[in-house]
């Protein structure tokens, strides 16, 4: 069985959703680990959940980037194993410098909680291989600060290295280039604003999110 770590910060609120998506729907092993953990080396995947870590004080993710667990997250990412940050997790990964750019307030200052049509821009990543290339999918978004911003040089680099994993079909928040999710240059760290863990059972309105986690299983099987 694959071992998923779900890092829980004070104020995380999607940690249990992720836990149940991995255990009940993906049928792999998951452990919710506290923000004080300093060693993640026994895990195959690290998940940084959504929520409002440290109350979003200062900026989303600005305090979480100094949490005791973060050196372990960085060390884990350096080994090439997958790290997935969702929503507030994406904000934390940009603040920590594991992903480029930043998440600003939504263009219209509105917290948006809707199913959102997306496009899989790159299905050759550890997180998207179970999708078809350019597949149109629907995942819920739930954020007030999901407006992805980076400068032109960074955007050019993202495009050149095929780091844009997901885009919005109807840009809901003002993100540069409709970006909904990006990877790092090495391809083993993904940040995304939509919530795949909220689309893993039919009762949730769709199961497109499960394919993100199934992709990670495929990637793991290639390494063992």
């Amino acid at each position: 069985m694959m071992k998923f770590a779900v890092v829980s910060f004070p104020g995380s609120n999607c940690d249990e959703d992720l836990y149940y998506a991995i255990t009940d729907d993906l049928h792999e092993a998951a452990t919710i680990v506290p923000h004080t953990t300093t060693d993640l080396s026994g895990f195959d995947v690290v998940l940084i959940p959504g929520g409002f870590s440290y109350g979003d004080y200062l900026r989303g993710g600005a305090i979480a980037k100094f949490a005791p667990v973060m050196p372990a997250v960085k060390a884990f990412a350096q080994t090439g194993k997958p790290v997935l940050g969702i929503c507030n997790g994406f904000q934390i990964l940009t603040e920590a410098g594991l992903l480029p750019g930043t998440l600003q307030h939504n263009r219209q200052m509105q917290f948006i909680c809707e199913p959102e049509p997306l496009r899989v821009e790159n299905n050759r990543t550890m997180f998207t291989s179970a999708f078809q290339d350019q597949q149109q999918i629907t995942l819920p978004i739930a954020h007030g600060e999901g407006n992805y911003y980076c400068d032109d040089a960074t955007l050019a680099k993202l495009r050149e290295n095929h780091q844009i994993a997901f885009t919005y079909q109807n840009n809901p928040n003002g993100s540069v280039s409709d970006i909904a999710g990006i990877t790092n240059e090495a391809g083993n760290v993904l940040g995304m604003m939509p919530h795949p863990e909220r689309a893993v059972e039919d009762i949730q309105g769709g199961t497109d999110g499960l394919l993100v986690f199934k992709s990670l299983v495929q990637a793991h099987l290639r390494t063992v």
């Binding site: 200062l58 930043t102 263009r107 407006n147 911003y149 400068d151």
Partner: protein
Amino acid sequence: MFLAQVHVTYKPSILDPQAVAIKDAMHRLAFDQVTAVRQGKYFEITLDVSTADEAERQIEAICDQLLANPNMETYRYDIKELANQ
């Protein structure tokens, strides 16, 4: 002891929708001559260090590492020595 007064604001190129909403509210209050609003954050930080140079070195690092996100924000600060109590 030194007191640092730090202002963090968005870079001019960054969309500031809160400031736009505030400006609209000013117009609703009939302050029609308001043409622009920028919103920022203000911090007062007291440091127990012996020189202004040391205070500045630390404030610069605090701004870079924590208070401002260099992708979208800039900062400025004033540092003054506090009279002995």
